[in-house]
């Protein structure tokens, strides 16, 4: 049994990962809510967010605006905007037109679109095959609290992540667009009859979801100090798993699921011998068990089937 401090430390690290996973998972769950589709290129959109941020940072650096906080804020804004628009384009091209056909079609179309995004970054980003170093812009240093090393940059990542989540919560619960999103999620036809513009609502949902993925991508770059064009594959699968554990369609479920997945990964890395290699096995195995015993997720509603 590893000492308690190590476990606490890993749980804290898991919280960090969990915030990123949660941000990706919220996208999955939002898309599922409005269109009943799984948008499998979302993982690659997350990767694109990281690269968009990196390019903006590089551009700002070249232009001489290198001041940490300002550059970072600009990078976040630009990346959210770019990635959000790409997300909307992805939806227009290959999610919406296929939404009425079988889920298999959307699945393959979005998986292929993910491949296209991934390969485009690989080919068109300069030396795209190599992992890219991500500038360390968050305050360095830290302190120790009860045996757990807390770094300032970790706190900053948590803060940014929670701000993003609160922002989404406010958008969904306090704005007109949020009300439209909730209405469409409940019943698209009835919502349209009440004067909700379906196309605009779906566009807005994909913008929000993809923007969150961009935030997650930037946070991931800041946390690991590097980004790589294949990070979207695992990012996407984990995000989807997190959304499924939480219950597809439920935003809070996705957040809980993301945090849970992150904690599972890190604590299993600490508890199991050679755990860092097998941590994903444990995490995915738990996801499988979860779906067996509680297929609608933690916060998902039980769906009653009618003929």
């Amino acid at each position: 049994m590893p000492p308690l401090e190590l476990l606490l430390q890993q749980a804290f690290n898991g919280l960090m990962l969990g915030v990123m996973y949660a941000l990706i998972a919220v996208g999955f769950t939002l898309f599922f809510g409005v269109l009943d589709v799984i948008h499998f290129s979302h993982g690659d959109i997350f990767m694109l967010g990281a690269f968009a941020g990196l390019s903006v940072l590089a551009g700002l650096h070249a232009a001489g605006i290198g001041g940490g906080a300002v550059a970072l804020a600009l990078a976040f804004l630009a990346s959210i905007l770019i990635t959000g628009l790409v997300g909307v384009a992805a939806e227009r091209v290959c999610v919406k037109p296929l939404a009425r056909s079988s889920p298999l079609m959307t699945l393959l179309a979005t998986l292929s679109l993910g491949l296209v995004i991934r390969e485009s970054v690989l080919i068109f980003y300069p030396r795209g095959a190599d992992p890219k170093r991500f500038p360390q812009l968050l305050p360095q240093g830290g302190f120790e609290l009860g045996g757990v090393a807390v770094r300032y940059e970790n706190l900053a990542i948590l803060a940014i992540g929670f701000c993003a989540m609160v922002a989404v919560d406010l958008i969904i619960n306090r704005t007109r667009m949020g009300a439209a999103i909730r209405a469409v999620a409940q019943d698209p036809e009835a919502a349209q009859m009440m004067g909700v513009n379906l196309d605009r609502t779906v566009d807005a949902t994909f913008f929000i979801g993809s923007g969150l993925a961009a935030v997650a991508g930037l946070l991931s770059g800041l946390y690991y100090g590097e980004v790589h064009f294949i990070m979207g594959i695992t990012g996407g699968v984990i995000g989807f798993s997190a959304a499924a554990i939480g219950g597809l369609g439920n935003v809070y479920g996705a957040i809980v699921g993301g945090l849970l997945f992150g904690m599972l990964q890190t604590t299993s890395a600490a508890l199991i011998p050679r755990g860092s290699e097998f941590r994903d096995v444990v995490a995915f195995a738990v996801v499988m068990l979860f779906l067996i015993f509680r297929p609608s997720g933690i916060l998902g509603e039980k769906s009653v089937e009618r003929v």
């Binding site: 037109p97 393959l108 292929s112 296209v116 390969e119 798993s241 290699e277 097998f278 995915f284 779906l291």
Partner: protein
């Protein structure tokens, strides 16, 4: 009848030319000929109806002609061991595709772990032959059974959940499989298992170069004929299953679970049967792959290959048995042919599939509606 045979010979010549053309002029001429042929059959209505009627009436002749073409292909490709290998690979994908199509197309069991089940077959062959010293042919027969068993044990509880969740669980399974193969000791880690002995049937090792009608063939031709036999048998078995009560029951299950239940079809049992039959053929393809190339390693069975398998059945036509054959014979060799585009290959592959799904979602050779007399 003459028309059928003529069309098939023309097709054979075009395929051989498309594969073998090296110089730009020859390649361009072949490409133009193929496009002209496609355009003629598509837009010249009398030709189109005549061909359609001829193929419908002389069904048996068409099949025999197709078989003769498939048997003769290695002779045309005898100068190129590489293309014989690619053709064999396409046949493996036919086998795997038929299995996967039985799961996804016929029964609606969304399996994205095709690569993992093929990997289970392949790794079983590797372990049994290299570590336990079994003969290759026996290992190739046992490999698929392992895939079936693992699939049945792990997935019984999950088969009840449907659609998206099954997709997720199978994706997770591919990842688990890959991580395990990469990190376990007995599977050789990232190196995989090397030196898998080649097939040997009745004292005839598959590495000897056969000679047919005085034409020396590359050693891969042995595997080609074995894979052809395997693909043909698989297609025949799947065809029989599809036409039987089981195929009909599974179709019902796919279209409407509640209605199927009302008709007395057990959902779990139906899905499990379809899943196991499919996994058998997927595992068989993987096992054959292992003895053909002589080694297995984790990257041979990663998630990307699940995608290729899925693309094969969707491009061909979901639930369409001839569609799978067409899909495999297009999707496997085409990227090889376009190797000169090397870095843009995968990008174009993705674009082609998206465009295909948007404009022809039923596939190139859509499944026919079942007919009963």
């Amino acid at each position: 009848m003459l028309l059928v045979l003529l069309t098939e010979s023309a097709l054979f010549v075009l395929i051989a030319a498309a594969v073998l053309a090296e110089r730009p002029v020859a390649l361009a001429a072949t490409g133009a000929a193929i496009l002209a042929g496609l355009a003629a059959t598509r837009f010249v209505t009398p030709l189109r109806t005549a061909l359609g009627r001829a193929f419908e009436r002389h069904h048996a002749t068409a099949l025999v002609g197709g078989a003769a073409g498939a048997l003769a292909l290695p002779l045309a490709l005898s100068a190129s061991p590489y293309w014989t290998f690619v053709a064999t690979l396409a046949l493996l994908y036919v086998t795997i595709g038929q299995g996967l199509n039985f799961q996804i197309g016929t029964a609606g069991v969304l399996n994205l772990a095709g690569a993992a089940f093929a990997g289970l077959g392949g790794y079983t062959v590797g372990l049994l032959t290299v570590s336990a010293g079994w003969p290759s042919w026996l290992a190739v027969l046992v490999g698929p059974l392992v895939a079936v068993t693992v699939g049945a044990v792990l997935f019984v509880p999950i088969l009840k959940t449907r659609g998206h969740y099954l997709a997720l669980v199978t994706i997770a399974f591919v990842f688990i499989f890959n991580i395990l193969m990469n990190n376990l000791e007995f599977t050789g880690g990232p190196q995989g298992i090397k030196n898998i002995p080649t097939l040997q049937l009745a004292g005839y090792p598959f590495t000897t170069k056969p000679t047919v009608f005085g034409i020396g063939l590359p050693a891969h031709a042995n595997f080609y004929y074995a894979a052809l036999l395997m693909a043909a048998l698989t297609t025949w078995i799947i065809r029989r299953l599809y036409d039987s009560w089981l195929g009909l029951a599974l179709n019902t299950l796919r279209d409407d679970e509640i209605a199927a239940k009302c008709c007395g079809i057990s959902i779990t049992r139906g899905k499990l049967v379809a899943f196991s039959i499919g996994n058998f053929f997927i595992g068989l393809g993987g096992a054959f792959y292992a003895v053909m190339v002589g080694f297995v390693s984790p990257p041979d069975f990663d998630f990307g290959y699940s995608l290729v398998m899925l693309s094969v059945i969707i491009i061909g036509g979901v639930d369409s048995i001839p569609g799978v054959i067409l899909g495999a014979c297009l999707l496997v060799p085409l990227p090889e042919r376009f190797r000169f585009l090397h870095e843009y290959r995968l990008l174009l592959y993705g674009v082609v599939i998206v465009v295909m799904l948007l404009y022809r979602p039923q596939g190139l050779w859509p499944a026919k509606v079942r007919r009963y007399r």
